[in-house]
């Protein structure tokens, strides 16, 4: 079982760069994302936890933790990673979010303010391993309501 997981991870690692290349049409070096690139992946929300802080009811300071599984259906049907959203409401309708996207070759970190959860944009703040020093934007569009599915579009500058 452990061996199977390991192989799947390896396959994901190998397949993601190929997908990136096919999608973006940009040059793709073997080591890291070294230039402008556009990464499109889909996600499915698998859990949402609401932490009501302070005065009961929805208000500033409440925290919402959301977890998505990440997919690339063109490569495989199983998730290729996951994303964790940790958001704190700043007003009744806005929230400040930190997102960590776990991908086979590293992590991407994004953050920013979200007004509408169906369409929002976050700044890519950095990353690890393959995505070390990544910069750019993450645009998220919800495509279905039940289950909640999204399209995550990374526009990386370098």
């Amino acid at each position: 079982m452990r061996r199977l997981v390991y192989m799947l991870a390896l396959a994901a690692v190998l397949s993601v760069p190929g997908f990136f290349y096919a999608w973006s049409g940009s040059a793709w070096s073997s080591g890291a994302v070294t230039g402008p690139a556009t990464i499109r992946i889909t996600s499915r929300e698998i859990s949402r936890v609401w932490v009501d802080v302070g005065r009961p009811g929805r208000g500033a300071g409440d925290t919402e933790i959301v977890r998505h599984n990440l997919f690339n259906r063109r490569i495989r049907s199983k998730p290729i990673g996951y994303a964790e959203f940790v958001c704190t409401l700043t007003t009744a309708t806005t929230r400040a979010c930190n997102v960590t996207i776990f991908l086979p070759k590293g992590r991407l970190i994004a953050g920013g303010s979200i007004q509408y959860q169906d369409l929002y944009e976050l700044a890519v703040l950095g990353g690890t391993r393959l995505y070390d020093n990544a910069r750019g934007t993450l645009t998220v569009i919800r495509t279905t309501k039940k289950p909640r599915r999204h399209i995550l579009l990374f526009r990386l500058a370098g």
Binding site: R40, Y116, D118, L119, T139, I141, T144
Partner: protein, 497 residues
Amino acid sequence: MKSLSLSTRMIAASVVLAALVAGVFAVLIYAVVTLDNAREREAATKDVRTALVGLEKLVIDLETGLRGVVLTGDARFLQPARAAGRQVDLRAGELERLVADNPTQLQRVRELRLAINSYVGDYLEPMVNLAQENIAAVRQTLARVEAKRRTDDIRRSFNELQSTEDRRAAASAASATTQSRRAIVLGVAGLVACALLIVLFGLYLARSTAHPVREAATAATRLAEGDLSVRLSERGPGEIGELTAAFNHMAEELESQRRELQTQNEKLRESERRKSELVHIVSHELRTPLASILGFTSVLLHRDAEPEEQRRYLEIIDREGRRLSDLLNDFLDAERLDEGHLILEPELIDVSRVVTEQVRLFEGQSEKHELDMVLPPTPLTVRGDPNRLAQVVGNLLSNAIKYSPEGGTVHVVAEQENGVVRVSVRDEGLGIPEDQQERVFVKFFRGDAPASGIPGTGLGLTIARSVVEAHGGSMNFESDSGEGSVFWLELPTAAAG
């Protein structure tokens, strides 16, 4: 090195000309094909532009539909966008087919197709759904920015495709223009070269063929007019050289045949002249003895003459009859000589005896002449026909007497020396003029004898020489005009033979 024949040269020139013409046409055809390709390229570019405009219009329809929905929240505005969305793959496929010859463009079209499909699937459809649920979300600035980003990407792809097609069309047109200009230059140069070659070929033909043929025609005309000395210069390639050589050979043959004909004509004339002369001689030579014979016979028949007188008349008739007989024998001998039927009856004879008999026979024929004979003490033996040799010696003695009208001594010498018996007869008469000497042995030639009233047929010496030569000997003479002549004959001795 053997020169090429005219036909080979003409074929070679034709091949060169044909190759040049083919080359010129190949260049022109290449230019036409290049222009045709450029035209096709331009038409293909137009088709690509049309397809791009069509695809762009679909994108605009998509964008417009989405904008209508976002602004109004009314899904009916989406109908044109949905219709456009259904046509995207069709139009994109058509565009891919049009740019299939250019991998870069094909890749761009595929990327454009992906971008449009992504715009529809990843943005337009979700945005329409969101518009129905949360219109505020799709009206936020981010939506417009995102829409602009995506459509900007798509338009950039359109522009790249368009500009690339424009560049290709321009390059093709420029190449076609260059090829066209080059083809025009090469075509003009080729045509000029062809014209020059044709002119040179014409000049060559005029020089190598027409000129010699014209010369041959002129020469043939002169030949037809009787100038058989005309000749052509045996120059020119192959067949022309052969023609001139054949013409010259023909002219030489004609000239030779004409000379032969002239010679034969001369011979015929000479023969005719001799025949007339013969008739004249015969009639003249026969008339005199015949007149004597007839006259004296008539006298004897009609007059009673004394026996002595009768005898004298009969002797004259006998002598003239013999003279007639000799004449006829001479004519017969001449005829036999002409036909090669001279018959000899050879035996061993002493030439001194023959000479002695003939000298004695001719002694007393003329009171004015004296015959002096010198003979060796030993016999001069040869193998020969005694009658014929006597005829020869008699002829020489007769001539010596006849052609010495003023008289004088006739010296006859017979001797043997170096195996040859030589008999010479020298007179002190008229001699033979130098211009007549070479014709002395010609049949019927008598020189100035007829004018001098000297009788004869002109056959004696001819027969004599033929008889001597038939005995294996030779006969000749020496003469100075006015100082007499020496005729001699030489016969091989029997002992020597």
